[in-house]
C-alpha cells in the first residue's frame, strides 16, 4: 500500500492558530506512503467531506488519515464519508492534533509542530497496515427465554409478549408466582400481594405469545447472542396437564396428607396429589411420589380411578425439549438463609443460639407472612405454631444472617427492615392488645414512602424498637426468653415472648450457580449474578444477549424487581429492534497453527469469548487443541493478546504489528 491521503483540518482557528498549515502539510507530504496531503478549514463540514470523497476517487487513495480532532468526535463521520466514495471505512484513521496537541501546547513552538508531525506519522504507519473489514453480521432469532417465574420473570415475560415477541418462560416449581404469591400484604402501600399478582399470573398462563414450561429446568444452553439453542427438562409431573381439566376431584379424594406444604413453608401438610396453592398457574395438580401411597406401597390409586379425563399417568417420564431464542432473561430470585444448624456449606454456620428448628414458635419471616395471609394456614389470624394460641408478645429480630461476617454473609439484605416494620403493623392490626418488639441494628428504609412507613409502625402502631442484637433465645414454660441488648440505653434487655420471628437474610436461589455456568454468567462470592456495570448497564451481563432482573441480582423488593424486569425486557427489545445483529469487526482471532493450547487467553477473557477447540484431521483423529475466538462475543479489549505467550492471538485494528509501527512512527 502506498496511496495514502492525509487531510489536515484547521478547525477554524483552533488548529490553525498553532501551526503554519502550509509548512505542516509539506512536512506530512514527506512521510513515506503519503500520496497527497491537503489542508482545509473545516474537514467535517460538507465541503470538507466532499473534498475527501473527491480525492479518494481522483487519487485512487487506498487509505485515509484525517488529522483533526479526537476520533471520539468524528471517526464515524469520516468513515462514512470514505464509504460513500467506495473506500472500506476501516481504512480510515484519525490523528488527534487538536485536543491532544494544538489546544494544550504553546502555539508555534517547534516542539508543538514536531509533535503534530509525529502524531500524523504514527497514524500513517498504522493505517498502512489496516485491513479492509466487514462488520460482523449475526442472524437474530426474535424470541426470548425467561428463566424463573417470580414477579420479575412474570413482568419481563408480559412486557416482551405484549410488544409482540414470543417468550419461553421456564419455571422450576409446579406453578409460577415465586415468593410474592405467598406474601400477605406488601409494603409500602399494604396492598394484598395475591390480589395484585394473580391477575398477572393468569395473563401469563393465557398469553398467546408465552410458552410456559412449569416444573421445568434449563438443561443446557448453546450458541450466543441472537442464536441460543436451549434444552429444557420438563420434569415428570404424573399428571398430563393437557388432558387435565382442573376439576380437582383427585385432590379432594387423595387420602394421603403427609408432606409438609412447600407453599406454607412447612406450617401445614399437603396431599400427595396437590395444587401448590389455589391460584396456581397452571391450576393443575402434580403428584409427589415421595408421599403417594400408590408409589410407596402400591396401596392406593384413588386418583387414577376418579379422574374422568384420564390425566393421571404414573409412567410419566422427564422430557427434553429444545427451543431457539435470541436473548435470555434470568430471574431466578432468592431463597431464605437457612437459620437452622444444618448448612450445606460450613461457611454459613447456622444460628444454634436462636433455636430455630428446635423451638416451634421461633419461625422465619416468610413463615410469618403465611400466618398473616388470609389464604394462609390460619386464615389470616395470627396463631403460633406450637399450640395455636394468639401470641400477645412477639419479638422480631432483624439482620439474622445478614451483616454477620461470622456466619458468612456480610451484606445487608435490604428489605428486611421494611417487611419487619410491616409485620409489626399487620400484627398490631390483627392482635390489638398485642405488643411487638423489634431488635435491630440500623433501620434501612430508603425508598419512596419507606421511612414514613417505618415511623408509622413505631409511632402509630406502637412497635417497640430496641437497638441491639439478640444473643440467645431459650424456651421456658411455654415462653421464649429472648436475651438482647439495647445499646442506646446501654443495658441488656430480656423479653418473654410468645412468638419470635427471624428476619433471615436473602440468598440467591439454589442451583443458580449451575445455571450461571450453563449460560456463562458471572456471579459474586455469594452467588448473586453480576451485572455488566453497576450504574450504566445494570440489567445487562457480560454475556451478550443475556440479561438479569429481580432478586437473583441482589436482595431487592417488589418495586425494584419489577422495574428491573421492565428494563431487561426493554434491553431485549432494543436487541430485537434490528433485522440482524452487526458488530464492530475489530475483534481478536487466534492463529491456530501456532497456538500452544495453554488457554491463558481463555482464562483472561472477561467476556468468555474464547473457547477451547479441537482440530481434527480428515479421519477425525485429534491433531491438536487450540483456542478459538467467537467473534460474536469478543468485545475487542485485547487482553488475550497481551497474555498469549506464543503470540498467537492478535486483535484487528490494534495488531502487534500496527502498534509496533506506531511506536516506530512516534519517535
Amino acid at each position: 500500500m502506498g496511496r495514502i491521503g492525509v487531510f489536515i483540518c484547521w478547525c477554524g482557528e483552533n488548529i490553525a492558530r498553532a501551526f503554519d498549515m502550509d509548512e505542516l502539510t509539506e512536512a506530512v507530504a514527506e512521510i513515506p506512503g503519503v500520496r497527497c496531503a491537503i489542508h482545509y478549514k473545516y474537514m467535517c463540514s460538507e465541503p470538507g467531506q466532499a473534498l475527501i470523497r473527491e480525492k479518494i476517487r481522483s487519487e485512487k487513495l487506498e487509505a485515509v488519515v484525517v488529522a483533526s480532532c479526537s476520533p471520539h468526535m468524528h471517526l464515524k463521520t469520516f468513515r462514512a464519508a470514505a464509504a460513500a466514495a467506495g473506500l472500506n471505512p476501516y481504512l480510515v484513521e484519525m490523528a488527534n492534533i487538536r485536543e491532544q496537541c494544538s489546544w494544550v501546547h504553546e502555539p508555534y513552538e517547534d516542539e508543538t509542530v514536531a509533535k503534530a508531525v509525529s502524531i500524523i506519522r504514527m497514524t500513517v504507519h498504522k493505517v498502512l497496515r489496516n485491513r479492509a473489514l466487514e462488520p460482523i453480521r449475526v442472524p437474530l432469532t426474535k424470541r426470548a427465554l425467561v428463566v424463573g417465574g417470580g414477579v420479575a420473570g412474570i413482568q419481563a415475560s408480559l412486557d416482551l409478549a405484549d410488544s409482540g415477541y414470543e417468550v419461553v418462560l421456564v419455571e422450576r416449581e409446579p406453578s409460577i408466582g415465586g415468593k410474592m404469591a405467598g406474601l400477605s400484604e406488601t409494603f409500602p402501600t399494604l396492598d394484598c400481594s395475591q390480589c395484585i399478582l394473580t391477575p398477572r399470573m393468569v395473563e401469563v398462563g393465557q398469553h398467546p405469545n408465552i410458552r410456559l414450561y412449569t416444573y421445568s429446568e434449563v438443561e443446557s444452553v448453546e450458541g450466543f447472542v441472537g442464536n441460543f439453542n436451549i434444552t429444557i427438562r420438563q420434569k415428570a409431573r404424573y399428571v398430563d396437564i393437557e388432558k387435565c381439566t382442573g376439576c380437582l376431584e383427585c385432590w379432594n379424594r387423595c387420602p394421603s396428607r403427609e408432606a409438609p406444604s412447600e407453599f406454607d413453608y412447612g406450617l401445614t401438610k399437603r396431599k400427595a396429589i396437590y395444587v401448590p396453592f389455589p391460584q396456581a398457574v397452571p391450576a393443575r395438580p402434580i403428584i409427589d411420589l415421595n408421599s403417594c401411597a400408590k408409589f410407596l406401597r402400591n396401596e392406593c390409586g384413588t386418583c387414577l380411578k376418579v379422574c374422568q379425563a384420564n390425566a393421571i399417568n404414573f409412567d410419566d417420564q422427564d422430557m427434553l425439549v429444545t427451543e431457539q431464542v435470541g436473548a435470555i432473561v434470568v430471574a431466578t430470585g432468592y431463597r431464605m438463609y437457612d437459620i437452622g444448624r444444618e448448612q450445606e456449606n460450613a461457611k454459613y454456620a447456622g444460628y444454634g443460639e436462636y433455636g430455630y428448628g428446635q423451638y416451634r414458635d421461633v419461625i422465619d419471616s416468610l413463615q410469618f407472612e403465611r400466618l398473616l395471609s388470609a389464604s394462609g394456614p390460619t386464615g389470616g389470624e395470627v396463631k403460633r405454631p406450637s399450640d395455636g394460641a394468639v401470641p400477645k408478645k412477639v419479638v422480631f429480630i432483624a439482620c439474622v444472617g445478614s451483616r454477620d461476617n461470622a456466619k458468612g454473609i456480610p451484606y445487608c439484605s435490604k428489605i428486611c427492615c421494611m417487611y419487619t416494620a410491616k409485620h409489626t403493623m399487620l400484627y398490631k392490626h390483627k392482635v390489638h392488645d398485642g405488643q411487638a418488639h423489634v431488635f435491630y441494628m440500623d433501620i434501612r428504609a430508603g425508598g419512596k414512602g419507606y421511612e414514613e412507613f417505618v415511623r408509622r409502625a413505631i409511632e402509630k402502631d406502637g412497635a417497640r424498637y430496641h437497638r441491639g442484637r439478640v444473643s440467645k433465645i431459650t424456651e421456658e414454660n411455654g415462653k421464649l426468653i429472648v436475651r438482647g441488648a439495647d445499646t442506646l440505653a446501654g443495658a441488656p434487655v430480656t423479653i418473654e415472648a410468645d412468638l419470635v420471628v427471624l428476619a433471615a437474610a436473602m440468598r440467591p436461589a439454589t442451583g443458580v450457580l449451575e445455571l450461571a455456568q450453563k449460560i456463562k454468567l458471572g456471579y459474586d462470592e455469594f452467588g448473586f449474578l453480576s451485572e455488566s456495570h453497576p450504574k450504566l448497564r445494570p440489567v445487562e451481563t457480560n454475556t451478550a444477549g443475556v440479561y438479569i432482573c429481580g432478586a437473583c441480582h441482589a436482595p431487592k423488593d417488589i418495586p425494584e424487581a419489577v422495574a428491573q424486569a421492565s428494563a431487561a425486557a426493554g434491553k431485549v427489545q432494543v436487541l430485537f429492534s434490528k433485522g440482524e445483529l452487526t458488530r464492530e469487526p475489530e475483534v481478536a482471532s487466534v492463529n491456530e497453527q501456532t497456538c500452544a493450547a495453554c488457554f491463558a487467553c481463555v482464562r483472561t477473557c472477561p467476556y468468555l469469548a474464547i473457547d477451547k477447540a479441537e482440530i481434527r484431521d480428515r479421519q477425525g483423529n485429534l491433531r491438536k487443541m487450540t483456542a478459538r475466538v467467537n467473534p460474536s462475543l469478543c468485545m475487542g479489549c485485547g487482553t488475550c493478546v497481551a497474555v498469549c505467550p506464543s503470540k498467537s492471538v492478535d486483535l484487528e485494528g490494534f495488531s502487534e504489528e500496527q502498534i509496533y509501527e506506531m511506536v516506530n512512527g512516534l519517535i
Binding site: 444448624r341 444454634g352 428446635q358 424456651e475 414454660n477 426468653i481
Partner: protein, 293 residues
C-alpha cells in the same frame, strides 16, 4: 490398650481430687492407661491471662514442651480450663516461628505446639461410644441428666474444634450409650462463673442458681459435668446458694466419669461420689416403677 499422657492440673490434685479418683477408676475397666506428665506445672488459668499475656502463653507452653520432650503425642487434660489454655497456646505457636523461638527460650525447652490435647469427652470418644455401650453392666435408666458443658468445653469454638458451641451433643451421645436419658434444657453452655469462685461469690452463686433452677425445671434429676470448676460451683456452693436464695435445690452433680463408672458397675465410693457435697440416692428404676403403680 490405649494410653494417653495425663495432665491433671492443680484442681485434680487439690480440691477436686474426687474428679481424679473418678476419672482413673472409670478408665481402668475400659482399658485406658494414663501416664502423668513428669513435673508438670500449673497452666496459669484465668489468673495468668488476666495479669500477663506472656505468662499465659509460657506456662502452658512449658507443659507442652515437657510432653514433646517425653514423646507424648496425645495429652489428656480433664480440666477444660487447662485443656483450653493448652490448645490455645498450641494454636498460637503453630505457624508463628518467632513466637515458638521466643517461648522456647522462656521455658528452656524446645516447643513446637504439636501435641494433641484431649478433654474428658474426647477420651471417651477415642475409646468409642460403641465399646462403652458394650461394656455397660448396669444401665442407668433412672438417670435423667441435664448435661452441663459450661463455657470452656466448647469455646472458643474455632480454636477447640470440638463440638457445636450453641448446641453441643457429645455428652448426650455418651449418656445414651449408658442407658441414661438427657433432658433438653437451656443452660447447657451458660457460664457458671468459673474462675471467680473465690473472688466474686455473688456472681458465681447467681449464675449457678439459674443453672440449677433451669435443669430442675426441665425435669432433670441430676447434672452432669466434665469440669472441676463447674463441679465446685454447682456442688460445693449449692448449700450456699440454697441459703442465699431460700431454696432447696438438692441436685446431684455428677462428673461424666462418675456415670460411666456407675454404668460399668463400679461402686460410688470407688468413684469418689461420696466426697461430693450433695449426696443423695437418685430414684432407682425400681422405686420409680413402684410409684407409677
Amino acid at each position: 490398650m490405649l494410653e494417653f499422657g495425663y495432665y491433671p492440673g492443680c484442681a485434680l490434685h487439690g480440691s477436686s481430687s474426687d474428679y481424679e479418683q473418678s476419672v482413673q477408676a472409670c478408665l481402668k475397666p475400659l482399658g485406658v492407661g494414663l501416664k502423668e506428665l513428669d513435673d508438670w506445672i500449673c497452666c496459669g488459668a484465668t489468673a495468668a491471662h488476666t495479669l500477663n499475656h506472656m505468662l499465659a502463653v509460657s506456662l502452658p507452653a512449658r507443659n507442652l514442651a515437657l510432653a514433646e520432650r517425653d514423646g507424648v503425642t496425645e495429652l489428656f487434660a480433664p480440666c477444660p480450663m487447662c485443656s483450653m489454655e493448652l490448645i490455645k497456646v498450641n494454636r498460637a505457636l503453630d505457624g508463628n516461628a518467632g513466637l515458638r523461638q521466643r517461648v522456647s527460650e522462656i521455658v528452656e525447652l524446645p516447643v513446637t505446639g504439636k501435641t494433641q490435647i484431649l478433654n474428658l469427652i474426647q477420651v471417651f470418644q477415642r475409646i468409642g461410644v460403641d465399646k462403652i455401650r458394650a461394656t455397660v453392666k448396669k444401665p442407668l435408666s433412672h438417670v435423667k441428666a441435664a448435661c452441663y458443658y459450661g463455657c470452656l468445653l466448647t469455646r472458643p469454638a474455632d480454636t477447640l474444634q470440638f463440638d457445636d458451641p450453641e448446641h453441643p451433643r457429645s455428652m448426650e451421645t455418651v449418656l445414651e450409650a449408658l442407658g441414661a436419658s438427657a433432658v433438653e434444657w437451656n443452660y447447657a453452655t451458660e457460664c457458671c462463673g468459673a474462675g471467680l469462685t473465690m473472688a466474686r461469690e455473688e456472681t458465681v452463686c447467681e449464675l449457678s442458681h439459674r443453672i440449677l433452677t433451669n435443669a430442675a425445671a426441665h425435669g432433670a434429676n441430676c447434672l452432669v459435668v466434665a469440669c472441676p470448676m463447674c463441679h465446685t460451683n454447682l456442688d460445693m456452693k449449692q448449700a450456699d446458694i440454697d441459703r442465699r436464695y431460700g431454696v432447696h435445690h438438692d441436685m446431684m452433680v455428677y462428673y461424666l466419669s462418675d456415670l460411666i463408672g456407675m454404668a460399668l458397675g463400679l461402686d460410688e465410693t470407688q468413684l469418689g461420689v461420696d466426697k461430693h457435697f450433695v449426696v443423695k440416692p437418685l430414684e432407682s428404676p425400681a422405686t420409680q416403677a413402684a410409684e407409677m403403680h
